[in-house]
Amino acid sequence: MTDFSKNMINHIDTSQASRRKFLIGSGAAGLSAAAVALIGGKEALASKYKANEHGDVTILSTALGAEREAIAAYQLGAESGLLSKGVLDVAVAFQGHHKEHADVLAATITSLGGVVPAAPTQYNFPVSQLKKERDVLAFAAGLEQGAVSAYLGAVPLFDNRDLSAAAASILGDEAMHWAVLRQALGLNPVPGAFVS
């Protein structure tokens, strides 16, 4: 990793990550309520929302699965012993974001009358290929890139436009993760004017 990348990583405010961990650990219900309000999961939404509920709930459920997998992947990276302090702090911060996304998605599924799918008991990761910090960063960058594309592909499909807006908001966060990870890998953090 370049010195510039290390400096950039170190400048990320990890106190926010600590705050998120606190919020999630001590008051997930409060967080979800606030987040659901943000995402448009108001009571009126559930009552007016019938036209394509299967489709929207299905998309949200798939997104929840991807967020849970990302949480597990960052946990794997954090516990690998391969990450330096600055990178570890960032990984924990990003994991916190994914936890917030997952909380919002689960709460929204519930608010729409859907059933939150059970979380898998285990995940498949290319553990044998993760031998140094750079491998972990590259693995995480790949997941974040894929997440950007997945949300981009989901945004136009929601019947409810509030959900499209919320998915776009999450997309923006994933794109920032991807850019930071690319920077840490010594790659151009923003390789183009568009994502796809």
């Binding site: 489709g55 998309i59 995940y123 290319p126 890139q145 894929g146």
Partner: protein, 143 residues
Amino acid sequence: MYVWTLLSGLFIVPQAFASIGNGAFADGAEVVELDADSYSAGEKLYGRCKGCHAFEYNRVGPKHCGLKGRRAGSLDGYRFSEAMKQSGIVWNVETLDRFLKSPTKVIPRTSMGYGGVKDDAERRLLVAYMLQESTSQERCADE
């Protein structure tokens, strides 16, 4: 280096993809082995799938090793939607191209909530890459 161009003010197409993608299929049905540039471009496009898929193992989405010739929804160890299982699709150039163009239109109740790869050249190249890699001896030795 890919050069992007605006077409009709609406669609953005990487020119390198366009030129490579048009040659990805020999006769419109069968995949030919991709040359190095096309393979690299296809690999880059596959990055879009990595939020949910991998070749070697199941994730949120099913693994892609063994995809070529597989009946949709038939992979052991992955929980598919009923819609996918009932689709009757067998994955080949034509079916994968059609599905990836608009997954929820081809299989309305699929779990794959993804709008699709709309650019024909990109999609053609992605399909060629996926089907070639799905039979890779190195990558898919367990298949």
